[in-house]
Symmetry: none
Subunit: 205 residues, 4 copies
DNA sequence: ACCTAAGCGAGACGGTACGTCTCGTCTTGCG
DNA sequence: CGCAAGACGAGACGTACCGTCTCGCTTAGGT
């Protein structure tokens, strides 16, 4: 029977996505971001190109350029969409919190696409002003979040009153980032323990 | 039929650098590295291309590819050539050494092309295995060098005997690298002082 | 990382020919063929390169390769476009027709770019199968056209009934082609007269 | 390709041919011409390059350029070396001589490398003045040789006294060349017979 | 119920850079 | 001085993407 339809018939067989009128099609945006994320996660910044994203998303290049005016902004959009604050655990001690922070961050970067994604953003930020600004702002924000570890500890009287929580957070996070960027995410618990011990306890005899 | 040319060659007759026989011409290598370094320092990885290097160096592309098989390896070569260990000062105290280390490193990166150069290497390492390996090896080596600060302090009995000097060096250097990669090399002395204080003295009350 | 560009694009703003949508731009095709014809006519196959054509036509190389997958096919396209059947004159006698044919053909080749164009096609056909096939097919077609001279004469009873008109045409044309390919287009009328006399009258005493 | 040896590879097992003092080494010249001829015969002008010849002959490029200043002159040298006048048969009749001439020429071109070689020379002559001159001179010489067919016939009184023997030879040879250049060397005896009949007997009823 | 406006896919456009090939020149070290 | 070897500057090869453009289609919302 000609007219037989099994509801799944939208847009012909090939699944071409079309305009939904004079407004942005969220399906296209999603398809593009999905494709971009997949490409970035899979091959990193190399192999990531607007053409490749358009192909993978079955989208037209102008559709991409309309909403993300450059490669960088698409990378950033993917990154913004995917990033999620790691659950902030409160172990009750600053050392425990630091250990949990480092462990979960390294694991998160190692076991999800986010690691590759963040590496891409950092790489992009090394020669693109916009990405650099986004990265700097994001770093501030994250360090500020992580600083809660030290604010709590200070409130408990566990650490010195003259500690700068954000600076301490930056120091801790920098170590993790250094490991990410040099491809050494697989630090054993003992190594993390040592880092935390030196960081919290200081070096002095 | 490929590459047919009519006699209109004339090679410009001017200061053309030519072969010096069946062996590498150091003048060409130097010109290429100089040009590559200039481009990298001036514009970063963007704007850095083999074509541009060849143009700037008045060299043929095959001459570049003969000796540096990829963009990455040329970036690395430039970087290897330019890097120089900062003078290792011995101020007599671990805090002084750390302060000197951070201050001179940030200044060096800020005031010489080396900062941009190193940023390029890091960016390259985020999607290129070879660059990643070189960066990892270089990081190890540098941290090991910086670790001398802590080895000396340990010998003086100034710091705990269970400190891992290399790990401590990595923590200190990671902070500096984090600043480089997020474009914040202009830390005032007070900020550096604080970092060193927290790092050496620890957080504990 | 490939093809990264900083914003310094600016496309010159002048008379840039651009896309007219997702279909071929005839202006580009014309500009390319014009440029190719000019280059071929001026310098022959030497000095003819896709790069040179692209430069002269202010076209991108991919635009050329999109429509003409090889140098050969571009040469053939130029040739196909330019070729035009010489007016078929009917002088009333086979000798007169042959004389007119040879004279006008040699003159045409000598005084228009077509001579150089045809030489290029022949040269190309000596090492390229596609060009060889096109040349063979074209030769057949032309000889068949020229054969009309002999068909008319046969109808008039002027020549033997067992003459093969196409073969006769090939013999006549081969002589002209031989002159073209050896650079002897300036045959005086007397020489042509003699060729025609021997050809039509035969050798026998 | 380096180690590949076909029989033509003189020079002993180690393969290194060296200077024999301050004079030309005939073994090198021979190896070069052999290699060039093999390449031309095998792949035609495409695939023929000085580099390829040098590789195949295990010769240095300067050695080639020393003796043959251009690709064209090397092609011509190969051609000159290989060309050999076909045995001039005297069948006693002009028609028989013409038939023998065409048959043996087409067969020779079809069954030996000489056909491809001559095609290369003709192609080269279409955009290279030197080759054009050599080809023109060679054509003259050959036509003059072939003209003997008609000189003999004239002496026998078999053909008209006002025939131009060289011109007649050119007409005959042009037909054969046309066939060579359009890749139609496999004319059956009947077709050749017909050509000869029309040529010798003329067209007139 | 039309009509305008904008988003969509598609893909051609002028370009730049890629990495490879050959050009013709040069200089070496050996014989 | 001839030779093999091979580096050199130059530039064409054919391909991949760049970012821009226009097309023909679709649909929503204002008239």
């Amino acid at each position: 029977m000609r007219g037989e339809r099994d509801g799944t018939d939208d847009t012909d067989a090939s699944g071409a996505r079309q305009s939904i009128g004079a407004r942005r099609n969220p399906a296209s945006a999603a398809a593009i971001l999905d494709a971009a994320e997949a490409l970035l996660a899979e091959k990193g910044l190399g192999g990531f190109s607007i053409e490749a994203v358009a192909r993978a998303a079955r989208a037209g290049k102008p559709t991409i350029y309309r909403w993300w005016p450059s490669r960088t902004s698409l990378v950033l959009a993917v990154y913004q969409r995917s990033k999620q604050v790691l659950p902030e655990v409160d172990t009750g001690s600053v050392a425990g919190d630091c250990r949990a922070f480092l462990t979960s961050l390294l694991t998160y970067w190692r076991d999800t696409p986010s690691g590759q994604l963040f590496r891409s953003v950092v790489a992009e930020a090394q020669h693109n002003t916009e990405a650099a600004e986004v990265l700097a702002a994001y770093s501030d924000e994250r360090h500020n979040g992580t600083a809660n570890i030290f604010r709590r500890a200070m409130a408990r009287g566990e650490i010195r009153a003259d500690i700068d929580p954000v600076l301490a957070a930056e120091m801790l996070a920098s170590f993790a980032r250094g490991r990410l960027l040099t491809g050494r995410l697989d630090a054993p618990p003992a190594a993390i323990e040592r880092v935390v011990d030196q960081f919290v306890g200081g070096l002095r005899a």
